[in-house]
Symmetry: C2
Subunit: 589 residues, 2 copies
């Protein structure tokens, strides 16, 4: 039998297929997707869940005239496959030609570059309003997962979409799962609606004013296509509450939905990872061990996550041990910070763990709820720094955004000893909001000079006393500082000073003032983040009127999409050779 | 008849009163509050609305053991009056002894310093969880307005409060009004609940899992007190949906709820402002005129507000002229930015106007929804800079938070001619997200050199060619720069260069590189914002390795509560005399 997939390249190819052929196509896509996922890894669960819905969307609607916006967009693989990018899913040589998220640079079928959760409804509202004021008449559709509904922006979007007064079609893809299990009152309502086939009178979406449609089996092509045909060209806001199965069609993924949310390359037959990562000691794992120990000893120690418990190293089994102290608030980072502030104000000890990229969802809460109230909560920022990932999930902006907020002590440990020293202090003090920038994934050990108090005034650590050049190497880039120092010494006979600044949010005035007296003519700052608004600029300002020269190294202020870390280091002149060269250029003058 | 108010100083004084006396007390407080408001101005509408509820809260609950958290906290006057601060509302000499918002520095009855909307539910969740892990058993109560429910953090809080599994009492104070009228689907549900005395089966709060109580008349002391007594010490999450009348008991305020949200000192008999502000030309008013003209000519021009239409100068009458183009999304700044991004992507022309203090509620949307997608929306930031207001509403952080996001062109005009030149360009270009920092309230006119293109690379304006010292005076502080230049010239014979940088987000490398060649040995930056992460530090970094000295002037990184602007200028060495003195100090060396 010839494969339908072979003759399917763009949405228009779907229009001529029969319903049976569409069903067949879904099966072929699932088989192919699974094959591809097994080779490249990726977001397995969500993509297997929305194959039928995506085929139905492109069959019923007229994209790219009709606008389809995928929330988070990690579930966009079938969409990409159907919109001129099939080779990226069928030809191993082309696998790297697309990213895992929608991106207008790739295709006119992708409306936005999206990676953060809960944004699509608001963006769709804007597309719909823009359409209306331009006098156009196409459909605007957003696909949003149940897990994403816990985010405040999603609710702000729902509230406004409901009042739009014109065409907007929101598909709530309910697979009864966030990255981990869902948390919060709204999921009780989704469950009630699922259990009553959408007929429960108390309906969150109807309460907001939406015309509500229920799809019992969103993995049934015919059922979802019928509803889509029904609502196409509607003149008012519509919600389609569609139930799907995360990992649909692949038993391992269906049975263990959390671990199959995202998976590396795996063996299809066994469901086992092809290459188990070499067992390294990670900060996440050590953090979980540390916090679990604290939580056992002290019931007021609480660990908070916003839908990503594994970031804190808490696997499902460990979470179950702390039902009252391990707190998953759903994908709601803003709430998590305010929640932590409240817990701290009540005299208990909250620790909120969050990825750098998502810390930026909490600026106002960091400022208004936390810092202004001097709440002694601890926030651990994971995955900060230059990475080779998607432009949607960069981890280089956290210093600039958080370290300039008054009263927040932003610490940047250089190694695990210092990390836990800072965490221990942060947990036990009662005066300051403390953020700790976890220095990477794999742990580093060093004989750091630890403090018993990391409050202000900032106290930097001189690791190596030298002269001429002082290297201020922040956090994870301390290792880079060591390399630069060695290279200056070995290749150029310059015995530089090496300093661990410890603090991203403040300068050690005493030490900086002393440096010129000790024969330094240049200070170099190294930070694993955007220079603009970051740590180094504080040093440049400090020395603004002195004769000390300051050279700031870090990332450029730009969005970077899937560029290897080493390549970025090279572009930003962050290799030891380049840094040494730039230093020599300046001190020779 | 002796006044009950005379013998009422703390909540315990309420406990011994009869219900009738409590009712009498409410009347006395209303009379006194009105008198005080007429003399000092303040949030009239909300405070008159919650007198009965606040008396009932302190009568029924045992504060400060029981925790009462007021959202926004602009409605806290009766709370303050009842908690040891009566003189601040009865003795004119003491009026200034309290702020208009809760503040733990003032009283143990104030749990948090709060001024931004939609945060109290999340904070209350934290207080409740902290109580639970500590094994305590008091009540945690949050009072939140209907207008605040449109904010995402409120929904994130509701979602989690509903799942808390222990005591939390949320009072939704529904006066059917935000600052202006409400917008969004949820208000349809509130209306339906009001119209059915809370009996409508489709109930947003029940959908989320709350035990729901309806109070038909929240200005009836007995009705609200009965419900509070009923839910006191509850073991599960409760919502009290309480209807009140904004401005209750003062006819002018009841009839014109928007204008009486906040009012200056007024004549009680006539309801007229005591001293009409001298008619000055404001940027808000000019902006409204400009946008209205554009909107009439081009249906794709849209103006967006997040619940504060007057910030854009749009009074009710003007709003009515543009039902399709003037878009109030409710208090939901994050959504507003994403919405604007969507509108721009659809090819229409959105302008979002927002106060500096609330811009910080949009960091992730500025980055992910807007900048990453290069959406050519325009954001106007009002009320930026040092002010004498509450620490909860500071306007000095916007440069640091927004100008360091890649791709956002952050412009700082110095006068109205430049402001509208930038706005015109921003509206007509199709490439960049543009933020414009409105330079104050009262307009300034200047013969500025205007550009036809404010895109990158940044092009600073040399206003006065001089030597030795170059003053980079950003935005509103351009006038300060002029004064410093004059003073250097007149008092010290130094003919300084004066530069209008135009851009807060980028340096004009060409010009900065040329300055040393033209005999400059010092560059001074002036910005009306926090120096940390701001404009000046970019200049300090730029000259890090040159012999040019850089002096950065601006606000210190700190929260400041009601300190006169002139006093802050003095503290931060921002008077022309201090700046000149600091310059001379450095160039004499």
């Amino acid at each position: 039998m010839s494969k339908v997939l072979d003759k399917t390249n763009t949405p228009k190819d779907l229009k001529i297929l029969s319903r049976n052929e569409l069903v067949q196509l879904c099966g072929e896509i699932r088989q192919q997707m699974l094959l591809r996922l097994s080779m490249t890894g990726g977001h397995v669960g969500s993509n297997l869940a929305v194959i039928e819905a995506t085929v139905a969307l492109h069959y019923v609607f007229n994209s790219p005239v009709d606008k389809i916006i995928f929330d988070v967009s990690h579930q966009c693989y079938t969409h990409k496959l159907l919109t001129g990018r099939k080779a990226a899913y069928t030809d191993p040589a082309e696998f790297a030609s697309v990213s895992g998220f929608t991106n207008p640079v790739e295709s006119e079928y992708d409306i936005f570059s999206i990676g953060h959760t809960s944004t699509a409804i608001s963006l769709a509202c804007g597309m719909a309003k823009g359409r209306d004021v331009k006098g156009e008449s196409h459909n605007v559709i957003a696909v949003v997962g149940d897990g994403a509904l816990s985010g405040g922006e999603a609710f702000e979007g729902l509230n406004n979409a409901a009042a739009l007064g014109s065409n907007i079609i929101l598909i709530v893809n309910d697979n009864d799962m966030s990255i981990a299990e869902n948390h919060g009152g709204l999921y009780q309502n989704l469950r009630m609606l699922r259990e009553t086939d959408g007929k429960a009178p108390c309906n969150l979406f109807r309460a907001l004013g939406f015309d509500y449609f229920f799809v019992r089996d969103g993995n049934d092509l015919n059922e979802i296509a019928d509803v889509l045909e029904n609502v196409k060209d509607t003149d008012h806001p519509v919600i389609i509450h569609m139930c799907t199965v995360k990992g649909k069609g692949y038993l391992s993924a269906e049975l263990d939905r959390e671990n199959w949310h995202y998976m590396g390359p795996f063996d299809i037959d066994t469901g086992k990872l092809k290459c188990e990562a070499a067992p390294v000691e990670t900060y996440e794992a050590l953090t979980a061990v540390y916090l679990a120990d604290k939580m056992r000893k002290d019931p007021t120690v609480t660990a908070i996550t916003a839908g990503t418990p594994k970031v804190l190293g808490f696997e499902e089994e460990l979470r179950k041990q702390f039902p009252k102290q391990f707190l998953d608030v759903g994908i709601a980072e803003g709430h998590a910070v305010a929640f932590a502030s409240g817990i701290a104000k009540a005299g208990a000890k909250p620790v909120f763990g969050v990825s750098s990229s998502f810390l930026q969802r909490t600026y106002d809460q960091l400022s208004s709820d936390l810092a202004l109230n001097k709440s002694p909560a601890v926030i651990l920022v994971f995955f900060a720094g230059i990475s080779g990932g998607s432009q949607t999930h960069m981890g280089v902006f956290d210093i600039s955004l958080a370290a300039n907020i008054p009263g927040i002590i932003y610490l940047a440990p250089t190694c695990k000893e210092e990390y836990f020293s800072m965490l221990e202090w942060g947990l036990n003090q009662q005066e300051h909001p403390v953020i700790i920038r976890v220095p990477g994934v794999e742990t580093v050990s060093r004989d750091a000079a630890l403090l018993s108090d990391y409050g202000y005034p900032a106290k930097y650590e001189i690791v190596e006393h030298g002269e001429a050049v002082a290297i201020l190497a922040l956090g994870k880039f301390f290792e880079l500082g060591e390399k630069v120092r060695e290279k200056l010494e070995e290749d150029h006979g310059i015995h530089a000073t090496l300093i661990n600044p410890r603090y991203a949010s403040a300068v050690d005035k005493e030490m900086l003032n002393a440096l010129p007296g000790y024969g330094h003519e240049m200070v170099v700052t190294l930070e694993d983040g955007v220079i603009d608004g970051g740590f180094g600029e504080k040093i440049a300002r400090f020395y603004g009127t002195s004769s000390i020269k300051v050279l700031n190294f870090g990332a450029k202020k730009e969005f970077v999409n899937h560029v290897a870390v080493e390549e970025q280091y090279f572009r930003y002149r962050l290799t030891p050779e380049q840094i040494v060269s730039d230093i020599l250029e300046e001190i020779r003058i």
